[in-house]
């Protein structure tokens, strides 16, 4: 059994895309693009999209592109596909916005609509609803946005037979001004659809594995981070 990358989707300040449509990928500082979500995410998601916070919208858009790239975005029956997402800042913007509704009037104006998005895993719940995904779902809060620890956990989960297909990646709105002395984090969401398969899946980007030293390797070459991995996939 091997693990293969079957789909790639991203939103960065350089633009949004999926592996099947592009061969250029980059992450840079700046504003994330305004995206017409109706052109990207499936029709079931439209009604929910407007109420989501920015962090959730970013993550769902990239997950949608990755699933579309893997031809898994349309569905009739719920599927045991899991999501593991890594982030540094998580939903910090929403945390701040929520508490700004608490301060005036001694909490009597606290917004339940915002509070529902003050967990960095809330967007995984939204993605699960939009795409009928019933597998595992959790967020890894890491100091660095490499995505490697999440990829390692995803590959271990596939190896242990916990899942056959997982969506793994990173999602972050970028550094927030309130965080002093923190490492710069670029705004982006990048997700991969990874399959455990007994054969070489036609149309896959290549094989991904964890070697004996614990390094994540793509087609036998150690990767530095998920961004480097996507570039290798698109070469």
């Amino acid at each position: 059994m091997i693990s293969i990358i079957r789909g790639i989707g991203w939103v960065t300040a350089a633009g949004a895309g999926r592996g099947g449509d592009y061969n250029v990928f980059s992450v840079k500082d700046g504003d994330l693009p305004d995206i017409d979500h109706r052109k990207i995410i499936n029709s079931r998601s439209h009604s929910r999209f407007g109420r989501m916070d920015r962090f959730s919208k970013l993550g769902i858009t990239a997950i949608s592109l990755a699933l579309k790239d893997a031809e898994l975005d349309e569905w009739e029956k719920k599927r045991p596909i899991g999501i593991i997402a890594s982030t540094v800042n998580g939903c910090l913007d929403t945390d701040l916005a929520y508490f700004d509704t608490v301060i005036p009037k001694g909490g009597s104006l606290a917004s339940p609509g915002l509070f529902a998005y003050t967990l960095s895993n809330s967007f995984l719940g939204e993605a699960s609803i939009c795409f009928g995904l019933t597998g595992c779902g959790f967020v890894i809060n890491d100091q660095h946005l490499t995505g490697l620890k999440g990829l390692r956990m995803a590959l271990d989960s596939l190896d242990l037979g916990e899942s056959k297909t997982l969506v793994a990646g990173v999602c972050d709105l970028g550094s927030n001004d309130i965080m002093e002395n923190s490492e710069k984090v670029l705004p982006c969401a990048v997700f991969l659809v990874i399959d455990r398969t007994s054969k070489d899946y036609r149309g896959s980007y290549g094989e991904i594995m964890v070697d004996e030293q614990g390094s994540v390797c793509f087609n036998g070459t150690e990767i530095e981070d998920i961004f480097n991995l996507v570039k290798m996939c698109l070469q």
Partner: protein, 384 residues
């Protein structure tokens, strides 16, 4: 349930420590539970006049010092009852809101250490405090965070990636969290009553737990005792709603069945169930549906500790796993405090008195926002 057995090597839990409103070490909390005590009291920490409840299970003398979150005081108390951990162990922290009290102070114009606000900062803070080599990660899965973390820690050991993992989970009662649950109308105006027909919602609590997981070889080599075992784990999603569980319990059922399958056990081998049992209408109803589906005709005691220590959010699963170890050791399940008139389907399964058990395995479940469900199968210390 008959199913293919996919047994893997068990992972040992060699050390366990807890701090809750019932006490600052595991024995104290366990003994308080058996006596039917509760840490739920009127909140003094902040004004609650505009909220739907005035109650929580707080650690009354917890203090914020300088610009640091109250978490540091909580963690120092936790570490005071934790033996030295191996320097090469991987740390997984689990929290829903980390030091969110510092975000409150920041927004009110007070000087704070903003690093305490982010869950991603906590593994490094703890690794440095304990002299660990690895920076680790935090796992965020709402109220199932620490249950998921324990499963992932066990998976890391089972896959041979590491041979020891420290799970460290914590959450505070702050106005931020309190106001949020109040705005969702999820809090009970009276102390919560898990699985009771007249339950009116949850009561928040605060606390922390540390659990050291080890491969059996590493544990023997380092002379650690075996307090219990993690035999199975699984995580699922309802794909239904982000703040309400699927009423039929299908997501939790799937997680529990997968955890059982991984443990190589059958449902009839389970001795008791430690439920999430928050006291909200939807959660408890959903859990009862799931437990009946998973257990079939097998009747075992079910319990919830949230009437005693409140809902400790991301720390709940870790604290409850530590209490499950005590339960297996003493062959007793603690009372479900607040239960008077059991919900339909709960009659005969839950009690407000301690109940003797005779067996080796507990099913522990947690569920949370985002539709997440997590299940663990825990084994008694001397069972192979």
């Amino acid at each position: 349930m008959e199913g293919r057995r996919v047994k893997i090597d068990p992972v040992w839990i060699t050390d366990a420590a807890t701090v809750t409103s019932l006490g600052e070490d595991l024995n104290e909390v366990w003994n308080g539970l058996l006596k039917g005590e509760t840490g739920i009291r009127p909140v003094q920490r902040f004004s609650v006049q505009n909220y739907t409840s005035n109650l929580a299970a707080c650690i009354e003398d917890l203090r914020q010092k300088g610009g640091r979150s109250m978490l540091h005081d909580l963690l120092e108390r936790l570490f005071s009852s934790l033996d030295r951990v191996p320097q090469d162990c991987f740390v997984i922290t689990a929290t829903a809101k980390s030091g969110i009290d510092n975000l409150e102070r920041l927004r009110r114009g007070l000087p704070v250490d903003t690093q305490d606000i982010l869950p991603s900062s906590m593994p490094r803070i703890i690794a440095r405090r304990l002299g660990l080599k690895s920076d680790g990660i935090n796992i965020s899965a709402a109220c199932a965070s620490s249950t998921v973390a324990i499963g992932q820690g066990a998976a890391m050991i089972a896959s041979g990636r590491v041979n020891s993992v420290l799970i460290c989970c914590f959450d505070l009662v702050t106005e931020y969290i309190f106001s949020g649950f109040s705005s969702l109308l999820a809090m009970s105006p009276e102390p919560c009553r898990p699985f009771d027909r007249d339950r009116k919602g949850l009561t928040l609590g605060e606390g922390a737990a540390a659990l050291l997981l080890m491969s059996p070889d590493k544990a023997r080599e380092s002379g650690r005792s075996n307090l219990g075992k993690v035999l199975g784990w699984a995580v699922s999603n309802d794909a239904f709603h982000i703040t309400a569980p699927a009423k039929d319990g299908s997501g939790l059922t799937e997680a529990a069945k997968q955890a059982l399958k991984r443990s190589g056990l059958l449902n009839r081998e389970i001795t008791a169930i430690c439920a999430h049992g928050t006291g909200t209408q939807h959660n408890d109803y959903m859990e009862l549906n799931a437990f009946h589906e998973v257990m079939g005709d097998t009747q075992v005691p079910i319990f919830s500790v949230k009437g005693a220590i409140g809902h400790t959010v991301g720390a709940a699963g870790g604290i409850e796993v530590a209490l499950c170890l005590e339960s297996l050791k003493h062959q007793m399940v603690p009372p479900t405090i607040g239960l008077i008139n059991p919900e339909k389907g709960a009659e005969g399964f839950l009690s407000n008195k301690p109940v003797r058990i005779n067996g080796n395995y507990i099913l522990k479940t947690s569920s949370g926002f985002g539709g997440v469900n997590a299940a663990l199968i825990l084994g008694r210390q001397k069972v192979s």
